[in-house]
Symmetry: C2
Subunit: 376 residues, 2 copies
């Protein structure tokens, strides 16, 4: 199988770029003296996660218990489920642990901690629980200064659970685009997480792990004192949102969607392609960034960025490719029917999720099929 | 299996509402004297398509050749692939026809028509081809007044292909929200398609089928003189975009995502739920409509709309539920941890595509699993 034989639309992975991205992050975190636990929600793909582990990653982060089950079945045991646990999901987590999976769960309320304790006692299972911290007002978690932090820790320990550490994610890092701002939010993520850990320890509670991370902060932190591990997901592929944030170049983006030109509206300067939002996802993450790329940035079939052509609009299985600014009325000559293009995505996690498999393209032109899974 | 035992997030189909939507569209098109060919891209689900056919639908419309293959394997033969054919996909279409599938393909350029003729002659296959018309400047297709319409028709007929008819889709109908505007765009779709057919016939070319449709125009047309069939997809579920367009009530929306409250940020008035954009899709179709519903409108677990609560923001596996306007600082009491909610989606086609299966809930509380497929 080679690129020319691949039918469109298809999700392409540039393996050389992917390996470069994996090496870059691992080397950086090795140098900063912390463990790296990649977030596998970006790819949900065994081949890619194996490459991350081969490069030095220790354990994985998951966003669903299905990811935990799938990767445990493939031999990975050290797993953090980084979405707040609720009572209804405890039986599924318990089953994984009973099967031997070293599954860690997270919590950010006394009520959920109590549910875990009640279930754990009933089933004689000492769940390992990490406390989720809110370090930037982005989403979930307990403020490190909030009294509830100690209350949750005490509930878990008194109830016989294993308090494994704290976990934070500075999701707001995606909103910045200068080196200074990224360094600042990275330090805020680090310092707030360490502060939460210190408060727990000062209260006589254990807190061995301090886990933080997002792709922008992991690539911007100047030091990680007090941190034991970092998590990041999208760095493995990168995307246009990360490019706008300023942590990668377009030539680092390892994921693209291969598509074919199927028609034109010449007077409008449109080429119609057979990748729509089903292939790109509906993600418009670049909408409010400094470079709005529509549904993606257009490259040649070989992967060279064409500069000012984007997928300006998308229906389910149709994309409209157009030049930014003045309409290109010669677009039918530029991209004749049958022309194949690659489209770089706004958001690699969202675009990947639309595809049952990646087509992994090596530098020598070999193409492999790497399945991914979906659902819950 | 019942609703209470279903883990979250999950795509729920209210079967009574779905059947009502199916009956409404079929009765309307029966009364207008045209055949109905539902677009199965919305659901990609055998059980639902069978219900549409049982109600009177004749044939189906697909957006990918995979849909054609999947439904042909389930015994449905009369299929229109409503995305412009290119040379690279002809072998796949040919194989389907050789297996006995009555597959119709569409084209909107002389160049693609010539590719079909060349392939058809080489393989002794008289493809049935419909010509795609542009009736509203929305996307693909040939203007009915454009000379290329006749040129494409003549290329096909002279080349030995079967010219089956014309096909149009007034996709711009989604942009309107008054009865008058919808009646006007529906009449424009009808009249333009009929005009294209008449021009072909006046040139001595056959044009037995005049196929038009979109959910808003199908539900707004006052008559369909000259039209032989209508296509529509999203009507089977409806969604918030269609509600804003004005062709359904929220109580008609048959698809929702079941989710669980996993935490709060009380001072912000946020409830955090375990459905994020992975479960809802990234579709923000209501963003520029008169009622922006964020990522979806919040209902009780039983399906009753809660009025002014929406999913205001979404990450991959987290949604933020908040009140429109002033923060609800009692949200933790209103929706305690463990509360289950249903979220009505912006766009049923996009939300459905995120799920490997629908959970079909009957009025008697019985729950069935209806698989759907994805990919290309």
């Amino acid at each position: 199988m080679n690129l020319a034989a691949l039918s469109t639309p298809a999700a392409l992975v540039d393996v050389a770029r992917m390996n470069r991205n994996i090496a870059r992050m691992q080397q950086r975190l090795d140098a900063l003296g912390v463990r790296f636990r990649p977030h596998v929600k970006t790819t949900k793909c065994e081949q890619i996660v194996r490459a991350q582990i081969a490069a030095g990653a220790q354990g994985i982060t998951v966003s669903t218990l299905k990811e935990a089950e799938q990767f445990f079945d493939k031999g990975i045991s050290d797993i953090v489920y980084a979405v707040g646990m609720v009572a209804g999901k405890l039986p599924q987590a318990f089953l994984l642990r009973r099967r031997g999976c070293d599954l860690k769960i997270i919590v950010d309320s006394v009520q959920s901690a109590e549910s875990i304790v009640a279930f754990g006692r009933e089933h004689r299972e000492a769940f390992e629980v990490w406390i989720e911290l809110d370090v930037d007002g982005h989403r979930s978690g307990i403020d490190p200064e909030d009294e509830r932090l100690i209350a949750v820790g005490r509930t878990l320990v008194d109830g016989g659970m294993k308090l494994g550490g704290v976990l934070a994610h500075a999701g707001s890092s995606y909103e910045y685009n200068t080196r200074e701002a990224l360094v600042r939010i990275a330090e805020q993520e680090r310092a707030s997480a360490v502060r939460g850990a210190e408060r727990l320890r000062a209260a006589g509670l254990p807190c061995p792990v301090v886990s933080i991370g997002s792709t922008p902060t992991a690539l911007s932190a100047e030091h990680l004192e007090g941190v034991t591990e970092v998590r990041a997901g999208v760095y493995v592929m990168f995307d246009l949102v990360m490019h706008n944030v300023g942590v990668c170049d377009t030539s680092d983006i390892a994921l693209s969607v291969l598509t074919t030109v199927i028609g034109h509206q010449e007077e409008k300067g449109w080429a119609i392609v057979d990748a729509g939002w089903m292939a790109m996802s509906r993600d418009r993450g670049t909408l409010r960034q400094q470079h709005d790329c529509g549904y993606g940035l257009v490259c040649t079939e070989a992967g060279d960025v064409l500069g000012d052509y984007i997928m300006s609009s998308a229906n389910q299985e149709h994309g409209i490719v157009a030049r930014i600014g003045a309409a290109d009325k010669s677009i039918a000559e530029r991209f004749p029917i049958g022309t194949r293009l690659r489209i770089l995505p706004n958001h690699a996690c969202a675009t990947g999720a639309q595809h049952p498999e990646y087509h992994a393209l090596s530098e020598d032109g070999a193409l492999e099929t790497w399945p991914r899974f979906y659902g819950w």
